[in-house]
Every structure is written in C-alpha cells, then in structure tokens.
C-alpha cells in the first residue's frame, strides 16, 4: 500500500474540516477502502479516522422511526433489538453480506458507499474501466460479465452495487443524513445512490468532504411479512448474483402496501413502483407474484455471460414473495 498521512477526527465537524484538504478520505471500518488501496484503485494521500466521533448509536426517532448512526457497525445494527424486531428485513440483509469478521468492522455509512466488485474496476492490470479511468472504455461489456447489470446500465458502465444492506434500505425507503462544508442535508436512498450514466466514477451523490451522519428508517410498516432472498455461488460469504428484498403490509388477508427491491442487477438497487402496485389490494398469490416479477425486469438487457439473471431475478422475487406472504 502507498504511504498515507493520517489524522484522527474529534467530532463530525472536525472530520468535515479535515476532509476539505485535497485527496483525503474518511476511514471507518476500512474493509472496502483499505482493500481498494492495497490494489491501487483508491489512492488517497490522507485518511481521516472517523471512528472516534460518535455517531454509532441506534435510537428511536419521534414518530416511530429509527436513526442508525453512520458509524454503527454492520453486526451491531443487524443484532440491535429494535432492528431485529421492527426491521427484520434489514437485519436479514446485513447478515447475508460478507463474514462475521467483516460485519464487526464495516459501518453502515461505509456499506452505503461500497464500491462495485467488477473485476475490471478492482484490478488495475486492466486498462479499460470508465469508473477507474474515465474515458478509457468498459472492458466488462465484451468481457467476463456474468456478475454484471441487466438493468439501468449505460454504454460507460455495467457494474452492479454489491451491497445487500442497500437493497433492504431501498425497500424500506431509508433516508440518508449528510453533513458537509455547506451544512446538513437529507435525501432518500433512491436519490443518494445513482445509475452510472455518462459518469460512472461515483455510485452516489455525496459532495467532497460530505460526511454521512445517519441512516433514518421510517416508522415500521413491515415487520411480519418481509424476506431477503440472496442467490449466490456458494451458500455464504459471497456477493449476490441476484437478491430480492420484499416487504408486505398485509391486513385482513389483503396486501395494503408492497415493496420489492432487486439487488445484483443494477448500479443501484432496482425498484419499479408499477410492479409493487400489481400486488396491492388482494391476497398474495403465485400468479400476481409472477406478474410483479415480470414487471420488475421489464426492459432488462443481458450481456454475453449474464442472460441467466433475467430469469433468476424473477424467480428470486416470486420465491421471496412466497416466503414473505407465507404462502409457501
């Protein structure tokens, strides 16, 4: 790893101030950043340690929501009594990602910013990657693209968001709270994460020196009928080929509200409100689940190695709906 400068931030304001120097990055858990630095993909000159600025608590919000501090570790979040009892979808998604060791280190803020695992991005031996070297081209389009996007990809980039947590947070309509040199702002996760378009260099809309302070969840509408289904090449400790986070609000046998987010298929978790609407106002049924799944992948475009994902994503959605709706 290249030589780096290092400074410990005292609090969030201090962290933001320190990060205004050029080529500086925050370090929390470090599990993704140090990995990328070892490979030469990330080359900050200075790291600002934000692990001693607080922001690790998980507290109830007025109105029944939950605030998860950006520095809360993935394992602590997954096992927090309020997350397990009120947002089991989030707990399940977190526990399906990485390993216990990594979850003990990784923070919620860092997980939001996880960078894609496209091998053409993570290995500097490849000369073409618009994400790493803007304008150099996308080697994945004609390369080994089994793990890549089937939805929302661009000419410039076909990488997928690797986070399981982000898929659950998208289904739960989480809000990302941020503070920076220009003050604080909040945005829905769907607006925080972005599709690659012509500028695949970033996966989010954070400005330089902006710090994620928390992830806020709305009051729990989905506790009884949720499921996170992850399909991968081995049964643990692997990234998703596809995943489906589904959350249903059912009363009197009828679906009142439905959320479905797909992971492993796009540069950010994929939601289609029209697909969710197909489920509302009636009992959960296999037939409706299939229609919703088909609607979700409408417009999907496969590459040479990943055609299987179009079917797999739909089967994952149907299967997750079956589990969440308890029609198994």
């Amino acid at each position: 790893m290249h030589a780096i400068d290092f400074e410990r931030a005292r609090d969030a304001g201090h962290a933001v101030q320190l990060a205004q120097q050029g080529n500086t990055k925050f370090i929390g858990g470090g599990t993704n950043l140090l990995d990328l630095m070892k490979g030469g993909v990330e080359q900050p000159i200075k790291l600002v340690d934000i692990t001693r600025i607080g922001l690790a608590d998980i507290v109830e919000l007025p109105g029944g929501g939950l605030r998860i501090g950006a520095l809360a570790r993935n394992s602590d979040t997954a096992n927090h009594p309020l997350v397990r009892s009120r947002y089991p979808l989030l707990s399940q998604a977190l526990l399906s990602g990485a390993s216990p060791q990594l979850r003990n280190m990784a923070t919620v803020g860092g997980n939001l910013l996880q960078r894609p695992r496209c091998p053409y991005f993570t290995d500097t031996a490849f000369s073409m990657c618009n994400k790493r070297l803007p304008g150099s081209g996308c080697a994945a389009r004609d390369g080994y693209n089994r793990m890549h996007a089937i939805l929302g990809a661009s000419e410039a980039c076909i990488a997928v968001n690797p986070s399981d947590m982000n898929v659950a947070l998208t289904a739960l309509e989480a809000t990302v709270q941020v503070m920076g040199p220009g003050g604080a702002r909040a945005m829905p996760i769907a607006g925080f994460l972005r599709l690659p378009g012509d500028t695949p260099q970033t996966e989010h809309v954070l400005q330089p020196a902006e710090l994620i302070t928390s992830v806020d969840l709305p009051a729990p509408a989905f506790t009884a009928n949720t499921f996170y289904l992850k399909v991968r090449d081995r049964s643990s400790y692997a990234f998703a080929l596809v995943s489906a986070a589904v959350a249903l609000e059912i009363s009197g046998g009828t679906v009142r509200q439905a959320r479905i987010a797909l992971g492993g298929v796009a540069h950010k978790p994929w939601r289609v409100p029209a697909a969710e609407a197909l489920l509302v106002g009636q009992p959960v049924s296999e037939a409706r689940a299939r229609q919703a799944a088909a609607k979700l992948v409408e417009g999907a475009r496969a590459f040479k190695e990943n055609r299987f994902k179009i079917d797999m994503a739909q089967r994952a959605v149907v299967s997750a709906l079956r589990r969440a709706g308890e029609i198994a």
Binding site: L47, S75, P88, N104, S235, S236
Partner: protein, 252 residues
C-alpha cells in the same frame, strides 16, 4: 495463494516434519512469548530458517511474475510523499507494546513484523480468507483490513493470547481432539474466530442461518456453526472437523 503454493512445494520435499512441527508450535502457542526484535523470530537451523526460506521463496515467485505485472498499465511511480513512522501504543494479549509505525501499517503487519507475534497468518491480505482473524475488544476482525494506528486503546487478542499459559483453551484442545486442521495455516484464525463465534451464539446473536431474526433463541446447530464460521477458509478442507470441534466446545 502464493503462500499456499510455497507450502505445497515444501511438503513435497523432506521439510514436511519440521514445517509441521513449527506450524504446530505457532498455532498452539504453548511457548511463552519471547521478547526479540522483529524479523528474528525463527529458530535458526543450519543457517536457513523456515521463515527466511519462505520469504526468499515468495520473493523468487514474485520475481517470476514481474514481466506480467510490468506488462500491465502501471504508470511510472511519481515521487511518492512519505509519512514517517510515529509512536503507536497497542495492548496485545494484555501486554503493552510501544511501536513505531507508519500510518499505512495494518494491524496484521504490526502484529507479525513489528510486535514479533507471527501466530496471526497472512493468507489473502484482502479480507477474503480469515487467516488473520484476531479479537479486538472481544470481537473478531480481519486484522489485514484494519490500520494498527486505529487500535490505540483497544484490547487485542491474538492466537498467542488464547491459551492460559501452558493450558490450552478448550477450543484449542478440541481442534487437536477432532483433527480440525491439516497444514495448520488457517488454524490461528479459525480458533480466534471460533472463540468469538461461540460468544456470539451464547449472546443470542442472529445469523443468516437463523430461521427468524425476530426470535432471540439461537440453536447451536451445525448449520449455524457453518454459517458463522464461513469467514474462515480452509484450503485443506478440514471443515467437517472444524465444525465438530466448535460443536463439541460449545456444548461443553
């Protein structure tokens, strides 16, 4: 990968027995820790140390790959800024260590190269194999993906701190009893991981194998053990015996 390759090459030679004995010693750590300078932690045998041999073998293997690496798009290195070592105080296995470390030094490298504690192993060095697992304030982490400088004030426990003096910890004895390793390279990480794994199960922590995260009771099933130990790879494939060792210890 490289390290495993070198170990494979070694076992094909007559070095099998000394290698196994040496790994056993490091793994089980029944020898009291000796204070000595970094880089001097091997028993010299006829001028060639196992460690020295491994290092030169790795260097040789790396050298053979140089043309490939150079063929890639590696820009000429500009004059990189340097950031000198600074004092870092670490608490490792209950002992204070005052080290001089550059900020980029990982916890794993600090343990092995600066504190002389070579029990924690470097497998992938990228958080994918678990060989470097240590406990930080009782929680298992990959020491390869953590900066040492960020652990001032933490209590770090490595494989050297798992036994009580000469007395093996129950999980160590169970690894012996259940034949839970072959080459032994992943074993220090497996054992540190297992210690925390059992603590987590006793505390009722959920896993991806738990049928319902809303329920706090955790079954100590093989399925749970497998899922919870999945962060530690074993290239020899001793998984069944590792699960048996953790199962036996968690039920004891």
């Amino acid at each position: 990968m490289l390290v495993f390759g070198v170990a494979d090459a070694l076992t094909q030679q007559d070095a099998r027995i000394p290698l196994a004995a040496s790994i056993w010693k490091e793994t089980m750590s029944i020898e009291p820790f000796l204070e000595h300078p970094p880089g001097d932690e091997d028993d010299a045998t006829g001028g060639l140390t196992r460690r020295g041999f491994l290092q030169s073998a790795v260097a040789a293997a790396t050298a053979t790959h140089l043309p490939l690496v150079n063929a890639a798009e590696t820009p000429p290195a500009p004059a990189a800024p340097s950031f000198p070592p600074r004092p870092v105080k670490l608490d490792i296995n209950g002992k204070p260590y005052a080290l001089m470390l550059e900020p980029r030094v990982t916890l794993l490298d600090a343990l092995r190269e600066y504190a002389g504690l070579t029990g924690s192993k470097k497998g992938c060095d990228r958080g994918q194999c678990g060989a470097c697992t240590v406990l930080v304030n009782g929680r298992r982490v990959n020491s390869c993906l953590s900066l040492a400088i960020m652990h001032e004030g933490d209590q770090i426990t490595t494989i050297e701190g798992i036994a009580q003096g000469e007395q093996l910890a129950p999980i160590q004895a169970a690894f012996v009893e259940h034949d839970a390793f072959q080459c032994g390279y992943c074993t220090p990480g497996q054992i540190c991981s297992a210690v925390a794994c059992m603590d987590e199960m006793r505390a009722g922590a959920a896993s991806a194998a738990s049928p319902d995260v809303r329920i706090k009771v955790v079954a100590f099933s093989d399925e749970e053990i497998r899922e919870r130990m999945s962060g530690n790879l074993c290239r020899c494939g001793a998984y069944n015996n590792i699960v048996a060792a953790v199962r036996a210890t968690s039920k004891a």
